[in-house]
Subunit: 345 residues, 2 copies
Amino acid sequence: MTDVATGKQRQRSFVSAQQVAALAGVSRSAVSRTFTDGASVSESTRARVMEAAEALGYHVNHLARGLIHDQSNIVSLVVTDINTPYQARMIDALTSRLQRAEKVAMVINTSGQAESVEKALRQTLQYRADATIVLSGQPAGSLIQTCLNNGQHVIMVNRDDPVPGPDTIIVTNRTAAREAFAQLQAAGCRKIAVVASEVGTASVVTREQAFVAAATEAGVAVQVMRYGPTAYASGAEIARRLLAGADRPDGAFCVTDLLACGFMDTARNSFGLSIPEDLCVIGFDDIEQAGWSSFNLTTFRQPIEQIAERIVGLLQGPPPPSTRREPIRFQAELVWRNSVRGKPV
Amino acid sequence: MTDVATGKQRQRSFVSAQQVAALAGVSRSAVSRTFTDGASVSESTRARVMEAAEALGYHVNHLARGLIHDQSNIVSLVVTDINTPYQARMIDALTSRLQRAEKVAMVINTSGQAESVEKALRQTLQYRADATIVLSGQPAGSLIQTCLNNGQHVIMVNRDDPVPGPDTIIVTNRTAAREAFAQLQAAGCRKIAVVASEVGTASVVTREQAFVAAATEAGVAVQVMRYGPTAYASGAEIARRLLAGADRPDGAFCVTDLLACGFMDTARNSFGLSIPEDLCVIGFDDIEQAGWSSFNLTTFRQPIEQIAERIVGLLQGPPPPSTRREPIRFQAELVWRNSVRGKPV
DNA sequence: GGGAAACTTGCACAGCTGTGCAAACCTGTC
DNA sequence: GACAGGTTTGCACAGCTGTGCAAGTTTCCC
């Protein structure tokens, strides 16, 4: 393969504007202007440049472009448990919208050991990402601060660190959890349990606490059981422990749909219970599986599409000042299916 | 905030090596060498540099670094249907391993309209990604060719375009599908159906065809039904159509676990069938839900972790020559659960 | 035809880094 | 103290782009 412009033997590698310019017989500036919106190029040279670019397979080097503007158009997504239905949907929604906004998503997986999280987050800075979207509970506040200091736009989802600077998006976990209690009580549940995990993710903890608070206010005692990670297997294990006892609960609030799935499956398959007749269950998140006919889980829907829309919207403007801002709230909507007796109140 | 080095008012923005050098009282080269493996710096200046870097919050600019070396350390993942359990697991496995290998993953979501796919793939090139990993059936071969021409390392997973150049990874769909037939036959199924989608993804098509071929060889007629996308709802719809007839099938090979879940749920909940007594089901992929006790689905496990390991391994070396290479094969292992009568043969 | 106005184009610099090269420095030996 | 050999350091250039500025070109109007 020979380089058309220089005549030298060309390694398979990226084409530069220089080479396009040489082939088109114009200056490099003309090439640059052809690919810059709003720059002044005559129609004829633009055409020549485009033809040459096409022929050589030229693509503007965004690394160099990012060097000049203070904008890389890279947005980094800091995520744990990507293989979880909720997170996967979030990533799907975000990446497709980011693309539509001419940005590109860099995924930082914080599932590994904490030390690697720090290294990964550093990558965000090293690639001069314009923004960091934190979907994970992991990275410490101090690391977030570093991002802010470097002028990054930081958006945190479902975390409630009281740091000034980042935009914060939260779903009304508290309200929803209280509503969950009201529904279970209306369904006539006498003995209510809260199914939670041992992982102290902000939203999960909030849901548990708010539910317990609502129960306490109503003068009802509830049994809280936490176990393992926030996953199907944990819900199953909790069911095994909770339902084996003499006075088993007849209502359960699972802080996550995944926990609910494990809980329901075990309740039915290992204990022969019918849902909702013997046991009412409410979950949270409205993951796809909640709608499957074997679960038919009553749950709270997180408006993921709207959240993603809003996040990408926030990214359009210039990064905001580093003052404390009110969190942006989204309502979690009750999705009534068939895992609770009766009708919603 | 005032810049320690220059004394000027500093916009919140990224720190450059120049500023670190000024603060540390050394040349910029010294800073560069401090952050370059194997470069020659005395212990004392390294310490001074590190201190200054720490104070200012310096991070090497990978955009500029990538400009010099022909290496950005960016790997782009081209993916459809991220919110699907199989893809989500793949992304999880890949991103965490890429991070460990000091690379970073850029996710290109090709779920949108085809036109956006092309634009998205162009991003891969514009950011000078070292490699492109294609997990999606979407992008046309010609686009892939462009990546190759630019010297990118392209790795395709579960596609069988006969293009020379890319590394190809395939799971032994054919073998597994034949084994599926053998198992259903051994379980005594008389009337066997294939549950598939209308989306012509390579692996899905291969599984269907190989199964049918095996049946034909054995002189058994099977009924193939394709419907909609490769999702739960499609499996459910196919069950509704297939099981309503007079002579309903008593065995089904679902080309995907998701289809299988929908199929099973509908078979049980809408038609009152018992699995495996009335109906044997085999799936493919071994997604998490296949192991849930309400499904207990016999299926074929794709060795995702090993595949990811291998992919990242391929990325370590220099990009290979653009000759046709033999695809790298992985065995899909039968996972026997309880959706087929009897024992595996 | 002439001149003003608008447009186009090339030059040269900036943005941030890595690195070859030569100069400067240090260490140790005679 | 001189010198050889090794280590460290700074200079200057390269890599690819965007853009202000001035020069060149076209357009248009009188």
